[in-house]
């Protein structure tokens, strides 16, 4: 699940991709807060949110089917907790009469609430991640006053996780081709050594990275890029999100 990033989608050219990342972050946060703070979504609210998000995804020329499938990945996990609600409300009764009773209905509403909110919020986050290049996202966080040590951690993760993950993959392939039938304890033990091995390699890579940074004039802070500005389009985007969130949360 971690491995699927949205990097390829962030290079699409569209009005949404062109917006300042700060505006997109603010709009996404507002929208998700609106979704999360409301009681279980009513049909009208769900319709409003769905049309807004699908509209934005369409303007951004994103593959909507893929985004829907990807965002639906939260559902199985959310469902394990969400399905407890009807049980709690039916007084622990497992039979159909209990679960279909009117007082279990409140529980089913909670189930719907959790699942719909999880799906809508995940979809909003995916639209953000798929329409913003990671460098822009990081620069925006920095301009939003996130401490730069933290932004540096984020940018190094974004930069190197793919490299280290492919190194991990080749270590595992090497392990599997030398010892194809490992199982149980032996596998766990070699996984530990494998993790240690990758640790040492990454540490040495880190030393080389730091020397490279020093030789390029690193003085303790990453250079800031001040591209992008808040214009009318950004204001419109954030206001739309704010009004939708307010409508959903307060209506």
């Amino acid at each position: 699940m971690h491995a699927t990033s949205f990097e390829s989608l962030t290079y699409i050219l569209s009005p949404i991709h062109g917006l300042d990342a700060r505006a997109k972050i603010a709009a996404t946060l507002l929208l998700i807060c609106g979704i999360v703070l409301t009681p279980p979504l009513r049909a009208v609210e769900a319709l409003l949110l769905a049309s807004l998000m699908l509209g934005v995804a369409a303007i951004a020329r994103l593959p909507i089917g893929r985004l829907l499938r990807r965002s639906a990945a939260v559902l199985p996990f959310a469902a394990t907790i969400a399905l407890l609600a009807p049980l709690q409300h039916s007084g622990g009764s497992w039979n159909a009469a209990g679960l279909a009773s009117s007082w279990a209905g409140g529980g089913w509403m909670i189930t719907w609430g959790i699942l719909s909110k999880a799906w809508f919020s995940a979809f909003a986050m995916i639209v953000l991640a798929a329409s913003t290049r990671s460098a822009d996202l990081l620069a925006a966080l920095r301009r939003l006053k996130v401490p730069d040590v933290f932004v540096m951690l984020l940018s190094f993760i974004a930069r190197y996780v793919g490299v280290l993950a492919s190194q991990l993959r080749s270590l595992r392939i090497a392990l599997a081709s030398r010892a194809p039938h490992l199982s149980g304890r032996a596998l766990l033990r070699s996984s530990g050594s494998l993790a240690g091995n990758l640790f040492v390699r990454s540490y040495e890579r880190g030393e080389r990275i730091y020397q490279a940074m020093l030789s390029r004039g690193y003085t303790g802070t990453l250079p800031a890029s001040a591209a992008g500005r808040i214009g009318p389009a950004e204001v419109l985007f954030v206001m739309t999100a704010l009004l939708t969130a307010a409508a959903v949360a307060l209506y």
Binding site: A3, M109, A118, F150, R189, S191
Partner: protein
């Protein structure tokens, strides 16, 4: 898999956000004061490593699998505060770039995986390991640290689900801790393997793991945790005894819709009889938890101090 948005109530995710943001802000200040530029760059590469290592998965039971989380391993190898920042950064990237775990739930996910897991792992490891510890003792300590950090993070996650009214207290804590007691075996084995490999190959990379625990730091950390627990208990009391502003407004403005109970019931749990007892039980549980933690911490610290005094006397 991390908690997605929409699963926790505002009375849980807002305090969790504030709590973990506070801890991390302190951590950032400390790291900036104590670490050199070079060490911070190394820490950033290690953050990418922890993320990559989370792709290590292992079978658990009944065809399901768990994956390495790395909170305890990071704390053992990098030290407490760097580990917290590294884990928090990993979770943030997962939420922002990969849409894994919610953004409102990010504070809660950080509380379990970036605060509780490294803290428990680091403390357990520090308490067991001495400068003179044998290799076996160190591996055992790493295993225990990772196992306990996995289980305690799961218990905190279960408590947050309970606080949000998602599940009854005893079953959710029971199921979560049982399940993570199994996952913790894999976590512990990989952590011990990692530490064992480093001990054999690059023992210099292990953080000052052999140094005896600094009592002042430990006491400060425990006082902080206690205060946090008290604040959380207080907030949950306030939150559960009166509906928050939004819900209050909703009940009044939306009064006309009250007959559509199915669609508008904003807080079904407040309509249940016996809520007073439940609230009371919640506060009591919180207070008992704080007291038990305090007593445990005190006993532990006294024992440690005695042990350290004995060490220096030798």
């Amino acid at each position: 898999m991390h908690i997605p948005d929409g699963m926790l109530e505002a009375r849980t995710w807002i305090p969790a956000w504030l709590g973990s943001a506070g801890v991390l802000a302190y951590g950032i200040r400390r790291v900036r004061q104590t670490l050199s530029d070079g060490t911070i760059v190394m820490m950033a590469v290690m953050a990418a490593l922890i993320f990559a290592l989370q792709m290590l998965n292992f079978p658990v039971a009944g065809g399901t699998s768990g994956h390495f989380a790395g909170g305890a391993a990071a704390a053992i190898v990098l030290g407490l505060w760097p580990a917290m920042l590294v884990m928090a950064a990993v979770l943030t990237v997962q939420a922002l770039f990969f849409a894994d775990g919610g953004i409102t739930a990010l504070g809660a996910n950080m509380l379990t995986l970036a605060v509780v897991a490294p803290l428990v792992g680091w403390t357990v490891h520090r308490i067991i390991v001495r400068p003179t510890s044998s290799r076996g003792a160190r591996l055992g300590a790493s295993f225990a640290a990772a196992w306990l950090s996995c289980v305690s993070a799961a218990i905190v996650a279960a408590l947050m689900l309970w606080l949000s009214g998602r599940a009854p207290l005893v079953p959710v804590v029971g199921v979560m801790s049982m399940w993570h007691a199994l996952i913790g075996i894999g976590e512990g084995a990989i952590t011990a393997g990692l530490v064992g490999y480093l001990l054999a190959v690059r023992p210099d990379l292990l953080d000052d793991a052999g140094r005896p625990i600094d009592m002042r730091v430990a006491r400060k950390a425990l006082v902080g945790l206690g205060a946090l627990a008290l604040v959380a208990a207080g907030l949950s009391f306030v939150a559960s005894s009166s509906p928050d502003g939004l819900e209050y407004a909703y009940e009044h403005v939306g009064g006309a819709l009250a007959d559509v109970t199915l669609l508008s019931s904003p807080m079904p749990d407040y309509l249940m009889p016996g809520i007073g007892n439940e609230t009371l039980a919640g506060i009591l549980a919180g207070i008992v938890g704080v007291i038990v933690t305090g007593v445990l911490a005190y006993t532990l610290l006294t024992a440690l101090r005695a042990r350290r005094a004995a060490d220096t006397a030798e």
